[in-house]
Amino acid sequence: MVQNKKRLVELLIGNISNAIVHSILEKAIVDSEVKSRYKKEMENSIEIAKKYRLKINPANTTLPEVHAEEIKEKLLKRVKSKLNERISKGYKNINLDRIEEEADAKLKELKVR
């Protein structure tokens, strides 16, 4: 059971991090013509994350603070790692300052914190 919860948390983090990376990369695109196409993908990742969140108790209230902080820490680490990899290759216009703000909003939406 503990193992199962650990796996669900991993999946939750994976999908939220995908949504945040999507959102930040989408904003790095200068051309507005194709931007709207990617909003749906971000929403899709959040919808999947919601399904995993519902399987983690307590589902209807926020998680215990220690647990929530641990999730946030892992989430930030994962998003930063993904974006830093791109930056190291010369990818421009990636706004890293938005990571924490995006993470807080998504974790609140999913009743993690």
Binding site: G14, N18, E33, V34, R37, Y38, E41, I48, K80, G90
Partner: protein
């Protein structure tokens, strides 16, 4: 239902040629010929479609008429996707409407569902968005490789490899290894197809459903139908998928023009 065609001169008898892709007018059926008064000629434009079930042509005719009624000012209407594949194994009908007007897609979707009984998947694009998509997004090129359009489709594909767009397109497919256990077969197929289409797009290879399916079979050593049926061996499939994903991802990042690098986050 009427078709307007021209009488052409024959040796012993004159004749009227009618298109093979048509609604009604089955071979062997009797028809009445009468002189045409100035009526609009109703025809579609077929792109890489050899034949289509008559019932589907009727649906497409309904789709075009219904959209015309609501949207009024448009540049083109494109029907694409699994609806155009042989048989009736489709879940929805993919429709792209090229218009610069702001349209409430919910209303159009509702009317189309009522009229055809099929769930429509509608995308409204301005001409600018469409042209940008056609040159930059592999999925758009795939959609246009096989389609039926209301008006003649005039465009020229000159692929542009934009690392930012391809990165975002590729990111979608990351969902497959991540959510393998919760995705159904169709979702897995779509995410695999997306990955392979991007890979072929970057190699400047042909981008059609057949080409992508062929590449899936070659790489994964399974038929695309096995993926659609969700009969995959998780370990072996995920391993190959991750390898191809990583390779394609590196190729996308290699497209980044050399420039000053941003400061990394700690």
């Amino acid at each position: 239902m009427a078709i307007i065609a021209k009488i052409s001169k024959g040796t012993l008898m004159d004749q009227i040629y009618i298109p093979k892709n048509r609604i009604g007018f089955d071979v062997g059926s009797y028809v009445r010929i009468s002189p045409a008064v100035a009526e609009p000629i109703e025809r579609f434009f077929f792109h890489n479609i050899r034949s289509l079930e008559k019932l589907k042509l009727k649906v497409i005719d309904d789709v075009f008429s219904e959209i015309e009624k609501i949207v009024v000012v448009y540049d083109n209407i494109i029907v694409t996707g699994s609806f155009l594949e042989k048989g009736f194994n489709f879940e929805d009908i993919d429709i792209i409407v090229l218009t610069d007007k702001k349209i409430n897609s919910a209303i159009v979707e509702l009317e189309l569902s009522k009229k055809t009984g099929i769930k429509p998947h509608l995308i409204f694009l301005s001409n600018k968005e469409f042209l940008k998509g056609v040159t930059n997004i592999p999925a758009y090129e795939m959609m246009l490789a096989k389609c039926i359009t209301k008006r003649r489709l005039v465009y020229r594909i000159e692929r542009k490899l934009d690392h930012r767009i391809l990165d975002l397109e590729l990111l979608k497919s990351e969902n497959l290894p991540l959510n393998f256990d919760s995705l159904n077969g169709k979702e897995k197929y779509n995410l695999t197809r997306n990955l392979i289409a991007i890979s072929l797009f970057m190699k400047n290879e042909k981008l059609t459903k057949e080409a992508v399916d062929g590449e899936i079979s070659r790489i994964f050593k399974i038929k695309p139908d096995t993926i659609k049926a969700n009969m995959l061996q998780k370990k072996s499939f995920s391993e190959i998928f991750r390898k191809i994903y990583r390779k394609t991802y590196n190729e996308v990042l290699n497209l980044i023009p050399n420039g000053s690098k941003q400061k990394k986050a700690s």
